[in-house]
Symmetry: C3
Subunit: 163 residues, 3 copies
């Protein structure tokens, strides 16, 4: 057992942990440019209710099939958030490498997202599972495909932040 | 500080993290055969309210003193779950090695379990602490004794999934 | 990528994870002397609502500017807790090194704290972000400055436990 759990070196595994830690932290700090920089030049970002995904239904809550779409989405969210003030807090569990596909690692991590409103009350917003393809680009780990499987399908269809 | 936090190598520590990540993920994916494979050939699995445990009261919610009992329990849950549809999401904190006992490591990790019902609403189901004895069997880390100390003792006595 | 995510060795990074795991576990187990031992000889401990912090308002919920103040605070909490029985459960996300300042590492980690009352009901108490300065003292990592940024500002001003 001198290898990391991911089948790579310990450093590889910790870089993976750090990618997920940064992912959640940057959303919570509303640092969306730095957050976008965690994605590969060619990337996708989907939020799909778990139930739809398991039944093979295509309907997703958020569907960004390119980096340009993801950047557009973030621009729209920033505009909307001027009027919808809340803060987020992501709790992301330990990431787990479940396989490989070409040059990408398949990685999953559970997540719970809390939101705090203007009255200062914090509520569970959603739980789910990240099912991602992660690649190395210019020496850094990046999300090439991020799929957020939402347990909670009763969320507002216009999500005010990325998950 | 070239050693992992557990006093072993970094690889050992990450293998431990991966064991807990797999434990939660496999319950949430209802992959119970793969989940059972995380336990040693000789194993125990107990769920006990924290209060009972601290007072030395024996009463537990789930009491499996052998692998056969644990397998029976899982069979029963699968049957029950045909009628009690919900999904789980485990958020498990960083595992922490607290000691050794013979060839086993004593490891603790906090956990929050969320359940989503058929209406798509997600609620906190329980929080607690895993207090486990973990051994190496055929080169892999396995749970020999898993004790789930539940903070929440107001849970249904017939648990519909493992925790 | 042979380096840990923190820019240090994998062992350094895991020691950091272990420090946060111990921090939460020792509060939850009410082992406050061991918890105090995670702080440097010279240390600070502040709990501030995130909103106040971002606006530069000084008002904090807890303000301990020295180790003596922190020890006093813990003594007071122990006394108060004889009459206010509840248990805590900390779920702390992956810590993330965000920079350096002199001999200290700047480290952040998200947290959710649950409390269980005497009726056995568990509720989300608060979410927030640890923003800490961590140093090496006699070979061990210690918290020199711990700042708990609370998302939830609607918490009782007399907190019954440390966060």
């Amino acid at each position: 057992m001198t290898e990391g759990a991911a089948g790579g070196s310990a450093g590889d595994c910790l870089a993976l942990y750090d990618l997920f830690a940064a992912y959640g932290a940057l959303i919570d700090a509303a640092e969306f440019d730095a957050w976008l920089a965690l994605f590969a030049a060619t990337c996708t970002y989907h939020i799909v209710p778990r139930e739809n995904y398991e039944r093979g239904l295509p309907a997703g809550l958020v569907y960004c099939d390119s980096r340009a779409m993801l950047e557009d989405r973030i621009r729209a969210l920033r505009e909307a958030n001027k009027y919808n003030i809340h803060t987020d807090r992501h709790l992301i569990g330990l990431p787990r490498v479940t396989g490989e596909e070409g040059d990408a690692k398949l990685v999953e991590a559970p997540v719970a997202v809390y939101q705090t409103d203007q009255e200062g009350e914090t509520r569970l917003f959603a739980t789910g599972l990240y099912c991602d393809r992660i690649v190395v680009e210019a020496g850094d780990l990046k999300f090439r495909d991020k799929l957020v499987l939402l347990d909670t399908f009763a969320v507002p269809s216009l999500l005010a932040t990325p998950l």
